[in-house]
């Protein structure tokens, strides 16, 4: 009896907590669907009148560029970053986990050290390099680094994973006449799938949420991502178009929600075992 009472207590505390946590999001959803005239007047989050006008108005975007472009730009950048990270980080991880080479300890330490380094230390010279190459106001500075395995965290994650794959598999393949290239492409890479999926998911979320580097490198509205467009919206409209701004903010987090629902189990296991957020 006492146990039952305690369980009900626990459930209620968690329920109230969850409600408080989600309340700002519910408020955003409700404001996005309210007609502009009543947003300020109506305190309740259950709208008395529902409209889609905020979405239509917001989707028109800013400076004559619509959110169709902004979403496409975000998806293009995210897609390229995922491909880059998956290919180059897995290659580097294979080398560190399985191959013997000169200076291995030193290079491995360098890789680990680069995880700890705050991005700001590299920021300015990287900007100068990309500026020199004429890459400012293109997508190149945003995804080329991913094709050079600069997200060392994922290399580390994959190294840990490859170390757990039995070496007998490599040996069996070697006896069958496979070299390192085939061992990687036919054995290790397919077996690394869980680590690759984790990498892809987090690359998606981080790149989608990213604002700082996109803001520095992209100024032409035709190249803006969703993050930049939202900031531009805020800048241009101030707080006069709440409804439209909420509608677009809401749409901007929908892809993350979809990803979260699709990969929930993998994601939570991924954080629990690796400690990324």
């Amino acid at each position: 009896m006492k146990r039952k009472y305690a369980n009900i207590m626990k459930f209620s505390v968690l329920f109230v907590g969850a409600f408080v946590m989600l309340y700002p999001l519910l408020w955003m959803i409700s404001s996005a669907f309210k007609p502009t005239e009543i947003i300020f007047r109506e305190v309740s989050i259950i709208p008395t009148e529902v409209t889609l006008e905020n979405f239509m108005e917001g989707w028109q975007g800013i400076s004559g560029v619509s959110f169709t472009t902004f979403f496409s730009n975000s998806f293009i950048i995210v897609g390229l970053c995922i491909v880059g990270n998956v290919i180059t980080c897995s290659m580097a991880a294979y080398a560190f986990a399985r191959l013997n080479f000169s200076l291995k300890t030193l290079l491995f330490a360098l890789m680990l050290g680069s995880i700890m380094l705050p991005y700001h230390v590299l920021l300015i010279p990287q900007y100068l390099i990309f500026n020199y190459l004429g890459w400012v106001d293109t997508f190149l500075p945003l995804f080329i680094p991913k094709f050079l395995a600069t997200d060392a965290f994922f290399i580390f994650l994959m190294v840990q994973f490859v170390r757990g794959i039995p070496r007998e598999l490599d040996n069996a393949a070697r006896i069958d006449g496979c070299g390192p290239v085939q061992i990687f492409s036919r054995i290790i890479f397919p077996l690394m799938l869980p680590a690759i999926v984790t990498t892809a998911i987090f690359t998606f979320i981080w790149t989608w949420n990213d604002f700082f580097s996109q803001y520095i490198y992209l100024s032409n509205p035709n190249l803006w991502t969703v993050s930049l467009a939202l900031r531009g919206f805020l800048d241009a409209m101030g707080e006069s178009q709440w409804g439209a701004m909420f509608a677009m903010s809401l749409l901007s987090i929908v892809p993350i929600f979809i990803f979260f629902i699709a990969f929930q189990k993998l994601l939570i296991e991924g954080i629990a075992t690796t400690g990324i957020k």
């Binding site: 626990k10 968690l14 907590g17 946590m21 309340y23 700002p24 408020w27 955003m28 305190v43 290919i87 180059t88 980080c89 290659m91 580097a92 191959l99 013997n100 080479f101 000169s102 291995k104 890789m111 680069s114 700890m116 705050p118 991005y119 700001h120 230390v121 590299l122 920021l123 300015i124 010279p125 990287q126 100068l128 390099i129 680094p145 050079l148 395995a149 600069t150 070299g179 290239v181 990687f184 989608w208 949420n209 604002f211 700082f212 993050s227 939202l230 805020l234 909420f246 903010s249 809401l250 901007s252 987090i253 993350i256 929600f257 979260f260 939570i268 954080i271 629990a272 400690g275 957020k277």
Partner: protein, 294 residues
Amino acid sequence: MKKLWEKNKYALLFLSPWLIGIIFLGLIPMFASLYLSFTNYNMFEAPTWTGLGNYIEMFTLDGRFWQSLKVTLIYVFVGVPLQLAMAFTIALILNRGVFGLSAFRAVYYIPSLIGPSVAIAILWRQVFGMEGMVNDVLSLFGIDGQSWVSDPSTALYTLIILLIWQFGSPMVIFLAGLKQIPMEMYEAASIDGANKFDQIIRITLPMITPIIFFNLVMQIIGAFQAFTPAFIVGGESGGPLDSTLFYTLYLYIKAFTEFQMGYASALAWILLIIIAVFTSLLFLSARKWVHYES
């Protein structure tokens, strides 16, 4: 020579993207930024050597530098402990099993996923604005609110609340750690007459210290580098009255609106040193309070 090539050719093949990256986007920029930190450089003329000039100016003349440091330290050392306390408490409640566990875990985790985005920063600005959600709720109790984001004494705390709101990811890590504590320890303790509270203090807390340590290190490093919430909520300049002038925001302003690239590089190196000092202090203190099973 040929032998060296034979030994390394495959590693070179697999590592070449990473090697190019670490050299051209890692090591060279790092030394370049160290060099620039000793110069005046505005991107249009060649850098001129000033020795320790930037650093001296920063520490002796630059009030905004101290302000940004103060704001950031409050954000990190008030926000992160509260965030972790929240994460730990909820993980404890969830750990012993409750109806709807996976739903609760998902709901509590969601803010961590979307929290760093521009959308949420914009939302926050409105939630704590004059006609925002917080004041809507307060008005139900007959309290007249104010604009929390435009009052210099409260603006930073709205950002700290945003940080605490994202307690889901350390919570998930705590949950995984709590599962590792063997049930037998609790059983033995309860046979010896220890109550629930004693068990938390004497078993759970010591056993979970490695996870607390890990979460502390990760969250502190992350919080020092936060940018987007301050940029959006503080109206791109750290306002009101520099009360949300995060360190990284100040660095951005110096580099990309004032084009003082040398000064901004010096700021970046000081940030690196600050993070390194706090991280090593944590590692040193770990010997005293982190319990590792031998």
